[in-house]
Symmetry: C2
Subunit: 305 residues, 2 copies
Amino acid sequence: MNFKEWAALMADRTEHCLERVLPAGSVLPGRLHEGMRYAVLGGGKRVRPLLVYAAGECAGADPALLDGAACAVELIHAYSLVHDDLPCMDNDVLRRGKPTVHVAFGEANAMLVGDALQALAFRALVEPFRQAQPALAARVGPMVLALADAAGSTGMAGGQAIDLGAVGQVLDAASLQTMHEMKTGAMLRVSVRLGFLAGQASAPAAAGLESGMDAALDTFARQIGLAFQVVDDILDVEADSATLGKTAGKDQEQGKPTYVSMLGMAQAKELATRLHAQAHQSLAAFGAGADRLRQVADLIVLRKS
Amino acid sequence: MNFKEWAALMADRTEHCLERVLPAGSVLPGRLHEGMRYAVLGGGKRVRPLLVYAAGECAGADPALLDGAACAVELIHAYSLVHDDLPCMDNDVLRRGKPTVHVAFGEANAMLVGDALQALAFRALVEPFRQAQPALAARVGPMVLALADAAGSTGMAGGQAIDLGAVGQVLDAASLQTMHEMKTGAMLRVSVRLGFLAGQASAPAAAGLESGMDAALDTFARQIGLAFQVVDDILDVEADSATLGKTAGKDQEQGKPTYVSMLGMAQAKELATRLHAQAHQSLAAFGAGADRLRQVADLIVLRKS
């Protein structure tokens, strides 16, 4: 199966799992559940689930355990977009080519949609372990810890707080990198980590878990996390809103520091290329089992939206 | 130790655990962590942690595992107050006798404070299991599931969504009860349940886990959950803002349906008394081990603020 087919299959798989884990619009409170489904289903590049599945494949994970992690990272991502788009934050009206949740459902509902999606992420993550062998239970705690840290104040939410404080300011390169490592990087990184941990869960002593895989995958994940953001900043300038499915040029308009504003376009592109190469180098010790991860890295850096 | 001493000790214990689990204001991003600490520390009745410890005592739980659950329910509760107080929700300016988080830290930060507290709750819940015996790991999944369901769209967040939609409407008794069972009841109920599950975790086959304890504790928890809300509605009318530490008379002013507006004051008080008695009956099969739970029920119904 070529990468495009595999990615489409995994995106479909994620969509089906999300469809199952999200309560139906007929379940009380209907309006809230409709809002949650609107925020999550039928859109998005599903980059984080692809990372979960690709890392899981590399670590020999049971696909059933990966489904939970894939849903979890996508639900956290979706909630963060809903809250980020609110008037008190970025005040954005367009997302994935549709009106944002607060435009379609009202501000108060949008806040509750995000809140409920975060709780659902933790449900989705641990739910597959109900059916799994008791021996795998030891991995639940570390996976929950990893997701909570990536989503919380020292991860994604913390990065958003730094971002808030940075509007109109000139950040140095180190501060900008820290902000992005938390805001976007933490969730991309934990996607890889959850795939790895689910692999440990399936086969704690399997030969497939070559020594050093944990550290190597984490280095890889940091590099593509940063590359993801650099490319995002480039696209914010070069792509139009229709291609992006969200308002283009927003960062510049809001005076937010970006890699392009800090380095200039040419150097930002060089940085993306360099991180891309480094990410491949981080996987050099692994064989064909890491091919999907390599391909997801390519997708992240070479995407056009 | 009498109940007052025990409750003060458990509240202190909770405060210390929360103090430890909340990142310091010196940790980046400082403003966010200050906001989180402001929202959580040094206030509140800690009713939910008391229920965790009391139910845990009843089920023979290891206190170290109870600490995580006690923090978790309090962190979820605190986050819900921060979001509930926002201008797009209840727009309240006073909480626990202090300016609300969005008044003190701004709206965007308040939203992120709440978001980060929810993630932290899941971290706090599972963190003690890192030190625990591997055999106890089987309880982590069910505890995370229980907390996620209680906090999410079919629990607390769902109840808030129903509450939102109910402003200015006349709800029948059944709908009002459903709303409260979700909005307030779910988190009180899961507090008892987490205490029970932590007990199972410590001693899966212990004789202390008498048959039927799970169901009996859950019935008890539903009854005191409802009683809690009825008393809340009564206090909203009868107490003043200084005693409550929050704006009194708010429900009436906002046209929210309450037990008092629906039943009248005399019948609302009768209902509280009846639920109190029923809660005691639910624990009739248990001996002195359930005394703390009985006393927490008394506290919930007889409180003046």
